[in-house]
Symmetry: C2
Subunit: 193 residues, 2 copies
């Protein structure tokens, strides 16, 4: 394996090992040694790539931010109506958080404002989509799009906070069923059964 | 002040001081000294009433459990239909958590399973009420009462987890507006505008 490629693999190994430890034990409770042990990486190799545990966390935060931003833009450009865009976007976010420990750990760091992280404003992104849905007649006229977005956001955060149990994807599908029946226009519900 | 009355006041002072510290700093991060300082209580007075910081936490957990159980039973016996009972119950719970630091700290301890605490199963209590509402025709026939209760519960937990911002009471009113429109029968919505 050429040297540059090996260095990339080591860097990725450290990121995944750190993500797994942060995910299990929390950022603060994770000593650097636990990351080295999990990754099977020497201290020397670690410091070749990162200045500190905090520096690894900052990269995890950056990775999730870039991933979410790209994902949001992809869905907004999907050509679907805004309400269907919101459904697709949220489902992919939930699936990615469940499946990808690097994204999950980075997101948790940002949400807890650890290692200088700042959470993305999902409530605002959802509000934009719901406001567009209101303009397009996909919401009932008596629904406040901001309220609908806030309730959705709170329910999604709640499912996360309640933690394991039923699969998050099932819980989220349930939230959509209840929410859409309450806020979507009859037309939209007819065309999206 | 007679001695017994004075002892009661000191005990209450310790409970409130501990609740305030746990509420601000978290249970684990609170040293006993911080509770003594906040309450203006000597170590001797503290140990006259409690064996340890954990013992105080256990009393806070017991207080919230008794309070919530009594409150639930009062609402169930209110004579209101089950859906209106759920609305009244949840609103009083949210108000009490906002207003009473002893209840708030005890509930947080139980939810985080600290000091041997076990959370009350609110999802189950709400599910019971929604199931009765379904039996009574207050829900739309195509609504799964357990799903409705789970979505409500997740949204309430999410509002808590998202923390300060808009008043929790406003957020909860918003959740009810969206949720009830999605799950309540037309009849119920007509009689509860």
């Amino acid at each position: 394996m050429p040297q540059q490629r090996r260095a990339q693999v080591t860097r990725r190994t450290i990121l995944v090992a750190a993500a797994e430890e942060f995910d299990r034990e929390g950022y603060r409770a994770t000593p650097l040694n636990a990351i080295l042990r999990r990754g099977g990486v020497t201290k020397g190799a670690f410091y070749f790539h990162f200045a500190s545990k905090e520096a690894v966390a900052q990269v995890l935060i950056r990775i999730q931010r870039e991933r979410w931003t790209a994902l949001f833009q992809r869905w907004v450009r999907s050509g679907l109506d805004p309400l269907s865009t919101a459904v697709g976007l949220v489902d992919e976010v939930v699936r990615l958080i469940d499946d990808d420990v690097v994204i999950r750990a980075g997101t948790a760091l940002a949400c807890r404002r650890e290692a200088g992280g700042v959470p993305l404003d999902w409530e605002r992104s959802l509000t934009e989509l719901f406001a567009k849905a209101a303009d397009g007649g996909q919401l009932r006229p008596d629904v406040d799009p901001r309220a609908a977005a806030r309730v959705l956001h709170a329910a999604l955060v709640g499912v996360r906070a309640l933690g394991p149990g039923a699969s998050a994807a099932d819980r989220v599908a349930e939230i959509w069923r209840v929410l859409l029946r309450g806020v979507a226009s009859a037309d939209w519900l007819r065309s999206n059964p």
